[in-house]
Amino acid sequence: MPATVRVRFFARYAELMGRSEATVSLSLPATVGDVVRRLREDFPGAGALPERPLAAVNMKHVKLDARVQDGDEVALLPPIAGG
């Protein structure tokens, strides 16, 4: 079953990607790790992203083996540096 997810990039990752978001289509079942792999295949700037970045789905921290669903918002998060 095909799914489309919105992927958001922040801070240094947005600079590396040259964009703040992208749309990725992939077949389900799929994980956040699959989304990262697809990005690295389809977007030139994504090769500079770490293979295992921090990630969130629908604004919750997740591991890369978390499943994604159609319509999810996936975020790739540079190392957190708040405070």
Binding site: R8, F10, A11, R12, E15, A56, M59, K60, H61, A75, L77, P78, P79, I80, A81, G82, G83
Partner: protein
């Protein structure tokens, strides 16, 4: 309730949010932009965030804190945008019947911020360079445009 602002942080406002006659201790943590010996001519830090998630994650973090210290009240604001050296980027105020609870709750929240709240900072230096800061608080090895 919003936990982010682009304005100068107001401690008075945060203290008022948590104040109660039954509270005997209020612990305040202020995180400020520094230019210390380990920095290289920092004039300001530019803070950016995944703002929707910041709000959601602060909600979860404060709910966790309330679960641990139900007697305490906690208020927090994270400032975003360009913040000059010496000004505060985050303020946390925890009030409780006794000081030990207030200290513990305040410490819990700032440590949670460091681990969970999706905020990033870029040092703006006197020589014009801009450098992303890693989570340990040190600049990344490469300049931001690489």
């Amino acid at each position: 309730m919003t936990h982010v602002t682009r304005d100068v942080l107001s401690l008075d406002r945060l203290i008022a949010e948590v104040a109660a006659p039954t509270f005997g201790g209020t612990c305040v943590f202020l995180g400020t932009v520094r230019n210390g010996p380990d920095e290289q001519g920092v004039t300001a830090i530019e803070y950016s965030a995944y703002e929707d998630m910041v709000e959601a994650e602060f909600g979860r973090l404060l709910a966790d804190a309330r679960g641990r210290w139900p007697e305490a009240r906690i208020a927090v604001r994270h400032r975003l945008g360009t913040i000059p050296v010496g000004e505060a980027s985050i303020a946390i105020v925890a009030a409780a019947p006794h000081r030990a609870l207030a200290f513990e709750a305040c410490r819990y929240v700032i440590e949670g911020v460091k681990q969970r709240i999706p905020v990033w900072k870029k040092e703006l230096r006197v020589d014009g360079s801009e450098v992303w800061v890693d989570p340990a608080g040190h600049p990344t090895a490469k300049p931001s445009h690489v």
